[in-house]
């Protein structure tokens, strides 16, 4: 690797300074504050701050609902990530073909990414809503089954999964398209000459060559579905019915900002933070070995 030499000793520090400051102020400081607050029982207006040690965490792990929420979150995140990536890869492969009006298709496919999660939720609400949604209306011609996700947990879950996948779809697609275009056509042509069919070519060449992209997208989608899907849940299901769609980040928000149980909510954030750090570390430790750069 080439080593850059700066004429001035302080210039490099000055250049990385802003980034370091932003990271410290907006990431490390709040994270540290949550860590500290999770050990307290704190009143909303800040007049009472009672040190309670690990009581907030005890309360969390005593609660079956919280453990259910952990499972719900993992199911949600894995389905959103795997199904989302598979779909994006499939469509990217198709969009990579040489067809007329390709630029238009590609641009259109990127659109959903420009939409905020809450808005995506509202859009899907218009599709799924038991009363004014178009899907239940169409289904009512075919089946008498009532798709009322106000009471049916799995329908509510399916709804937010579909909405989250759709929302993240454009982003995944953009990266896969770029990845596909970076693959040398000569490699694929050589494989064709050797007699490999399209499916063989995909699994033997394209997919391994895309592995850095897949790895990056996997990590990113996991964190997206763990953290950024709050707006979606808030707009559509409010965690219900029962607690069927009460993912961790939504619970933490609700107990903190609506319930004003600040210490308890901070403890949930800490657990969430630990889970995602573990997950990411795990991915880097094991999954990255399979990545060929």
């Amino acid at each position: 690797m080439k080593r850059s030499v700066f004429p001035n000793r302080w210039l490099p520090y000055l250049l990385v300074g802003p980034q370091v400051i932003i990271t410290l102020v907006f990431f490390f400081w709040p994270a540290f504050e949550s860590l500290r607050l999770s050990l307290y029982r704190a009143s909303p207006f800040g007049d009472r701050l009672i040190y309670v040690g690990l009581t907030n965490f005890e309360r969390l792990f005593r609660d079956d609902a919280y453990l259910r929420s952990v499972i719900t979150s993992f199911v949600f995140s894995f389905v959103v990530t795997f199904a989302g990536l598979a779909l994006a890869l499939l469509l990217a492969s198709m969009a990579n073909a040489r067809i007329r009006g390709l630029a238009v298709y590609r641009s259109l496919l990127l659109w959903p990414y420009g939409i905020a999660p809450a808005i995506a939720g509202i859009i899907w609400l218009f599709v799924f809503h038991p009363s004014y949604g178009i899907l239940p209306w169409l289904l009512s011609f075919v089946t008498a089954y009532q798709f009322n996700w106000f009471l049916k947990g799995w329908v509510a879950m399916a709804l937010i999964i579909v909405a989250a996948i759709w929302k993240q779809f454009g982003y995944n697609l953009a990266f896969y398209l770029a990845g596909l275009q970076a693959i040398e056509s000569s490699v694929l042509e050589a494989a064709s000459v050797d007699g490999a069919g399209p499916i063989r070519r995909f699994f033997a060449i394209t997919f391994p060559l895309l592995s850095p992209v897949t790895f990056f997208l996997f990590t990113l989608n996991m964190t997206f579905s763990f953290f950024d899907t709050f707006g979606l849940v808030h707009a559509v299901t409010q965690g219900g019915p029962g607690d069927a769609t009460s993912i961790l980040v939504y619970r933490a928000w609700r107990d903190g900002f609506e319930g004003l149980q600040l210490g308890y909510s901070a403890a949930q954030s800490v657990v969430l933070m630990a889970l995602v750090i573990m997950l990411t570390a795990f991915q880097f430790r094991f999954a990255e070995k399979k990545v060929t750069y």
């Binding site: 029982r41 207006f45 309360r59 038991p130 009363s131 106000f150 607690d243 609506e258 319930g259």
Partner: protein, 436 residues
């Protein structure tokens, strides 16, 4: 460059000269609220009228998002030592505010500034819900109570008489007929915990929580898993199973189904009258009636919801003087009658009710009369004076979560309510531990 600079300076000078704050040294009063759409416009109207009525103070009404958002914004501002003077807090935040130590009680503020507001004129259900020791710590503002709505067109189609069902037996019978005649939703309700649990307990004089619903001390346990609560939930569970009760979500989500003419019988806030009037225009007709009662339980009263205005500590004396003046303005009979008339909220003073009667307002808007009559006929008992819980929003979530489990048949009524009680005990004890 020089010319540009000169022009900029000139413009700035003009801006300073014409800006009203520079021309008149008026004291700013920040009023943070959570009212949207038509209600938000009415709030701005109140502020504008007050500002035009005198020269010393300028009330600035600022919309801060939903009720929880507004409360959070006020908390953040208070902790940053820049609180608004007045903040609108929903009824479930009452105990949080009372315990906060951040509040300048309104009765005290008014007294300290030589302003007289006749607190005895405040209607009993509002006064009982918000007062402690007979004193109002916050300024009663927008209060509503749930009532029953019914779709007259669907009733006609189902061959039902044109009158509101008054008991749960009648609701069930009507809802069954409605569904049989093709209605997509026989009966439904918005604000599930508030209309179906909190109000039903108060209306039938049943305790909701210990310590007299939290009025005699911090509540630590809910009492909703008694015979009444179980009976209520069993009825609705059966209704959901048999198809005459349709659950349509938390908060006011179900209003969408009433508003598009799907539901025959519906419970929601009396403040929904305005929106329903607009939603139903040219599509269907409707009317209101009192909340349905269940036989075999004593008479209580329905309770209120909505919000009050709290004054936060940390402002300057002359600003508080302005707040007191503003509250006197708000409390005037004329303004109360106007506010209730244009919004559908309850007029919060007896004199405002009388004024509205005298002006023939209820003859023109008979649907607005229902809520007031219902409140006047109610009996205020320890069970129906209101509900005051710490962390009330979380308690409501816990209840609604279990209501959904009951309606979907996942749990029996008794099991679901027991679980709701256990969960909310945890939440209530947490609050009590904070303020012990």
């Amino acid at each position: 460059m020089k010319a540009l600079l000169a022009r900029t300076v000139a413009l700035l000078a003009v801006a300073v000269l014409v800006s009203p704050s520079a021309a008149l040294a008026r004291t700013d009063i920040q009023w943070w609220h959570a009212m949207t759409a038509v209600l938000g416009e009415r709030i701005n109207e109140i502020a504008a009228k007050f500002n035009a009525s005198q020269n010393d103070y300028e009330v600035k009404a600022v919309y801060k998002g939903s009720y929880p958002d507004t409360l959070n914004a006020a908390i953040a501002a208070y902790r940053a030592k820049q609180p608004p003077h007045i903040v609108q807090v929903y009824e479930v935040g009452t105990q949080t505010m009372l315990s906060s130590g951040a509040v300048y009680p309104v009765f005290q503020l008014v007294k300290d500034h030589g302003v007289t507001i006749d607190w005895n004129d405040v209607i009993p259900p509002v006064k009982s819900y918000y007062a402690s020791g007979g004193n109002l710590s916050s300024m009663a503002f927008n209060s509503s109570t749930p009532v029953l709505f019914y779709n007259k067109d669907l009733f006609k189609k189902a061959g039902l008489p044109d009158r509101a069902p008054t008991t749960w037996d009648e609701v069930e019978a009507a809802a069954r007929k409605l569904v049989a005649s093709g209605a997509r939703c026989g009966f439904s309700a918005a604000w599930p915990s508030w209309t179906l649990m909190e109000n039903m307990h108060a209306l039938h004089d049943q305790p909701f929580a210990d310590h007299a619903n939290g009025f005699d001390g911090l509540a630590t346990t809910l009492k909703i898993n008694g015979p009444f609560g179980v009976k209520m939930m069993e009825l609705l569970q059966r209704g959901a199973k048999e198809g005459w009760f349709t659950y349509n979500g938390r908060l006011n989500k179900a209003e969408a189904n009433m508003g598009n003419g799907e539901c025959g019988v519906f419970l929601s806030s009396s403040a929904y009258i305005g929106n329903l009037t607009r939603a139903s225009e040219g599509k269907f007709t409707w009317a209101t009636g009192p909340l349905p009662r269940m036989g075999g339980f004593p008479q209580g009263s329905s309770i209120i919801g909505g919000a009050t205005l709290w004054v936060l500590k940390g402002a300057k004396p002359e600003e508080y003087r302005g707040v007191a003046q503003f509250f006197r303005y708000l409390a005037s009979t004329e303004n109360q009658a106007w506010w209730a008339g244009v919004t559908g909220y309850l007029p919060i003073s007896n004199s405002a009710v009388k004024a509205m009667e005298a002006s023939g307002h209820f003859q023109k808007n008979p649907q607005q009369r229902t809520a007031i009559t219902q409140m006047q006929l109610g009996k205020v008992t320890p069970n129906s004076q209101g509900i005051r819980l710490g962390n009330f929003p979380s308690v409501r979530d816990a209840i609604e979560e279990q209501m959904e489990n009951i309606f979907s048949g996942k749990k029996t009524a008794k099991q679901g309510l027991d679980d709701a009680v256990a969960k909310s005990s945890d939440i209530l004890k947490e609050f009590a531990a904070l303020y012990k």
